[in-house]
């Protein structure tokens, strides 16, 4: 991969991390209504997959979706404004943290019903096939969603019709407080691919280059009309499920062990080793990302709330 592209992926991951840290702070200052589900810790998945996508490719997302939006190229300030419930947000304040969409970059939106985005992604795949373009869809969901009926129905349909969809399972080990081993008799969600006759790949979801490589092959396969792939990225969320979850169901040792595999510090070390980055360049990127996120926060804070009556708009065409 070109140096520029590698640096760009690193920047995207940092953007997500820095953005999520800001959201966490703003929440603490009572500036974020509702709740938040942070993506920190899982950056390599969104960044690694989306680095393979074109602007006209699609993604679908979940309640933990800020990272997907950023990775697909949505604007930080409009994401932040939506999270704060402002009129300038992507959904004019109607969606919030769990429902951000940016159709202009192919981000088809986040649905907060676990697993519900899977058939929608399959539908976008069918649309591509019927329109005879070479776009692809990346459908993000967690391991918890793989226990929903929509997982079975949606992937089966994508498989029988050879639709261009990457089903990207972000296995962060916990569905809210329920550890995977308590609700699944198998270790790998990707093993379920066998049931649909499609490739199933397990990848270290905290290694962005590994994610990139696996997604690259799946995108190639999809663009050639050969059908979907189920990719399971083993990863870990740094924070609890939502803002007020102290995550007491996870042991301190487990959390610390995963923190040593933080996807961003790992990637940075790798880039320094590969001479893609110097300490100086890394610092510049960090500073520029921090400034961009700060600008997004200012934009969001200064933006007006929607007029109350706007609640009645945007229902029907």
């Amino acid at each position: 991969m070109e140096k520029e592209k590698l640096a760009k992926i690193y920047q995207r991951m940092l953007e997500i991390r820095c953005f999520e840290e800001k959201v966490y702070d703003l929440y603490g200052q009572n500036l974020v209504p509702g709740t938040i589900h942070l993506y920190a810790g899982q950056e390599a998945v969104a960044a690694g997959v989306c680095a393979n996508l074109r602007r006209d490719d699609y993604i679908t997302s979940t309640h933990r979706g800020h990272g997907h939006c950023i990775a697909k190229g949505a604007k930080l300030e409009r994401i932040m404004a939506e999270i704060l419930g402002k009129k300038t947000g992507y959904c004019k304040g109607k969606g919030g943290s769990m429902h951000i969409a940016d159709f202009s970059v192919g981000m088809l939106g986040a649905t907060a019903v676990v697993g519900a985005g899977i058939p929608i992604a399959t539908g976008a795949g069918l649309s591509i096939k019927l329109r005879e373009t070479d776009q692809v869809v990346a459908c993000f969901f967690g391991e918890g969603a793989s226990n929903q009926g929509t997982f079975h129905e949606g992937i089966n349909m994508a498989s029988i019709w050879a639709l261009p969809v990457l089903f990207v399972c972000e296995n962060n080990l916990y569905a809210m407080g329920t550890r995977q081993s308590r609700v699944m008799a198998i270790e790998n969600v990707a093993d379920r691919a066998v049931a649909y006759g499609i490739p199933g790949r397990v990848v270290d979801g905290n290694d962005v280059l590994a994610v990139y490589e696996v997604a690259h092959k799946a995108v190639e396969r999809a663009r050639k009309g050969k059908g979907p792939t189920l990719i399971e990225c083993k990863t870990y969320r740094h924070k609890g499920h939502s803002r007020f979850d102290p995550a007491a169901y996870r042991s301190k040792e487990e959390v610390e062990e995963w923190l040593t595999r933080d996807p961003i510090s790992r990637f940075k070390a790798r880039l320094l080793e590969m001479n893609v980055l110097t300490e100086q360049r890394a610092r510049e990127i960090e500073e520029s990302v921090t400034a961009d996120v700060e600008k997004a926060v200012q934009f969001a804070l200064e933006s007006p709330y929607p007029e109350p009556e706007e609640a009645l708009e945007d229902l029907y065409v």
Binding site: L108, G109, G123
Partner: protein, 324 residues
């Protein structure tokens, strides 16, 4: 004017619209060349437009609707078929939380131009899982439109409007209506949403009825005419949007209203219509609002049991007489 069946009228609407717009496709269980739809509505369409545009699916109602929604937000205009209205329960999240809400939730960035067709209604002895009328559930979900044609003419005209609409439209047909014949012009026409059809002018009582009940209401009106009661029969044709104006104007004229629907009485479509009349025309009423509906049971199997729970002419006549 030529007469064709309700089933053929629906098929004509699908065929004409599909011929005009390549983005329209049909998706559902056994809608293709092998079975041609459980009620044969899609007969011949796979042969004419290809299996690509008339897609047989696995038995996966949730994915049928979800896939249609995903295709709709990316440029297509799917017409999904759920084999029986009762099975919409399996697709409820995709209908009520996804298709209905995507546009609103995303601040108007997208539209969801799709139709979900399904047969409703009892009267053919297929019991509790194949006979329900569930329109009230969907009336309670903002973002959806609801069409319920009672004649071949309306079936064709409303389905064309539904397919051209940029919003998700729930299109409810009635099993007993598929074989009925009625006049349908050969030339192009559509029936707009939100415009009720006054099936019969009258001055004494307003009868509001939907889907198959329109025919029961008209038959009851015929019999009551002979007894000197002059009924006005109104078919709203679409519940969302609802033509309140025609309804209220009729009630203002007659001062009496009986609402006839095949769904359960409690929280049913008739409850909403009654509430609108009470809110907007109470001062014009000369008698209490009456409702004739299913008495809050599942639909039973055995013919005498099923007939007992279904609204019929006798019950409509009784309700009218109670307020005369």
């Amino acid at each position: 004017m030529r007469k064709i069946t309700y089933r053929d009228a629906l098929r004509e609407a699908l065929r004409e619209e599909m011929a005009k717009d390549n983005n329209i496709f049909i998706i559902g269980e056994d809608v293709g060349r092998y079975w041609k739809g459980a009620f044969k509505v899609t007969k011949g369409l796979a042969e004419e437009f290809g299996d690509k545009r008339v897609r047989d699916t696995p038995i996966s109602e949730s994915a049928i609707v979800g896939v249609a929604a995903g295709a709709a937000i990316t440029g297509m205009r799917p017409v999904a078929e759920i084999m029986f209205g009762d099975l919409s329960t399996l697709a409820m999240d995709q209908i009520a939380n996804q298709a209905a809400k995507l546009r609103y939730m995303f601040g108007g960035q997208t539209s969801v131009p799709m139709v979900i067709r399904m047969p409703f209604g009892a009267g053919v002895n297929i019991a509790a899982h194949h006979s329900q009328s569930l329109e009230a559930w969907f009336m309670h979900t903002p973002g959806l439109k609801i069409a319920m044609p009672s004649t071949p003419y309306d079936a064709k005209g409303l389905l064309k409007t539904a397919i051209r609409d940029d919003n998700p439209v729930m299109f409810f047909e009635h099993k007993l209506l598929y074989p009925i014949e009625g006049p349908v012009p050969e030339e192009e026409y559509t029936v707009p949403f939100g415009v009720a059809d006054v099936k019969r002018d009258g001055k004494d009582v307003t009868l509001v009825a939907t889907l198959y009940m329109v025919h029961k209401a008209l038959a009851a009106a015929e019999r009551l005419t002979k007894q000197g009661v002059d009924l006005e029969v109104i078919d709203p044709r679409t519940l969302i949007p609802l033509d309140k104006k025609t309804l209220i104007n009729s009630v203002k004229k007659t001062g009496r209203v009986v609402i006839v629907t095949e769904d359960c009485k409690t929280g049913g479509a008739s409850a909403e219509i009654a509430a609108i009349v009470a809110e907007e025309a109470l001062d014009y009423l000369d008698a209490p609002i009456k409702r004739v509906a299913e008495p809050d049971t599942p639909i039973p199997f055995s013919p005498p049991l099923e007939q007992f729970v279904l609204p019929d002419e006798e019950r409509i006549i009784k309700a009218v007489k109670e307020i005369m």
